[in-house]
Amino acid sequence: MKKLIIIFFVLINICGCSKNVDVYQKNIYVMDTVINIKVYSEKDASDILEKIEKLYNEYNMLTDRYNSYDDIKNIYYINNILNVNEELRLDYKLYDLISFSLEFSKKYDKVNIAMGNLIDVWKKYRDSASGIPSYEELNGISSISESDIILNDGNITKLSDVKLDLGCIAKGYVTQLAGELLESNGFDKYIVSAGGNIKVGKKYSNNPYKIGIQDPIDKNNIYKIVNVSNESVVTSGGYERFYTWEGVDYSHIIDPYTLYPSNYMKSVTVIMEDSSYADFFSTYLFMIPISDGIDFVNRDSNIEAIWYGLDGKIYTSSGFGNYE
């Protein structure tokens, strides 16, 4: 009889059906993308998914640069309605996000959240597919200087008609908050997929999460698969965000110093725990030459990265092999 019981348990393990783990899913349409959240849990995750949808919607409105909302002082408001030198009390959530971003870009100055005026010019040309702007036009735009943004005890003041654009951080930042919210509510096995950003929790089976990195040239293909748990994977560059004019690909990431899109690589993918930092670092690495990026990443044990060069060659940081 004992043996029978042993066989029974061995079988259960083979089936992998010893636990009643369900998958709870939600698709959220915000920030120009669809965010898919899967929670693996024995208890019902519907309520927490509702809360996460609210979180994304809230930050979507706060960081929205093109629309205003009733009773919300968002980026649109700061950029287009707030007067120069006028102080505005901000929602602490937006204040914290801007303040976090400014702190990062002080250290890594190619990352700039005050480039709205520059991005707008490029967007105009890209949307109408009407060539590329001249240096004179780009040089003539209003301020893109972050020092024109003053934060003080919950308030914001702009010293010029500088325009904020949180495109390089908003998704990663909220995705980080979403992960933290899930974990603090006892849901530690999850995957949040937000286009170029993925954040995963603890593994839900014996295997880590398998994340494919899209080939920036042939978007129906995956050029690398990484195995991760408790990590964020963020790609900058990538096929879908390029604008091609006269055979030249222009990325959507614009260098605030040259005023032109960065063109050192096809894409770079960063793996690190925190999704906000991963979002920033992928943008930063996209803006510096691959060799400099490799040196940079190899000095920091918290980051690993993989580059897809302009020549189609793949480069990886020294610890990247741990994820392959």
Binding site: I213, K219, E240
Partner: protein
């Protein structure tokens, strides 16, 4: 352990291994695509039959075509027509997302990947 125990173990293991093999064969037969509007599954499509389908998207009708075990969005109403430009897909690693229409098409199957960064 007597003879009967060994027999039992052998029989049980043979049954388990056979069923795993059968399950895998069964899984590979017939692939299906799932069409979602926002969070709701609105249509399951058999990819082995060439056919055309219409679903309601946020901006109106979305036409879906199945041909040679592949699926695509043939026509939809959106500013950039990104999802109809994407063309046919046939692998579980690919997804068609029509953002303005809030339509997602996924191919069902044993997912090799948990996610894709783009």
């Amino acid at each position: 352990m007597n003879k009967n125990d060994i027999k039992l173990i052998v029989v049980v293991f043979v049954v388990v291994i056979l069923s795993i093999i059968l399950l895998n064969i069964f899984k590979k037969n017939g692939s299906f695509a799932k069409v979602y509007y926002e969070d709701d599954l609105i249509l399951t499509i058999d990819l082995s039959k060439d056919n055309n389908y219409k679903v309601d998207g946020y901006n109106g009708e979305v036409l879906i075509e199945v041909k040679d075990n592949k699926i695509r969005v043939e026509k939809e109403n959106s500013p950039k027509h990104l999802c109809s430009k994407q063309g046919f897909i046939d692998s579980t690693m690919q997804t068609i997302v029509c953002l303005p229409n809030k339509i997602i098409i996924e191919i069902e199957g044993n997912k090799e990947l948990d996610g894709v960064v783009k």
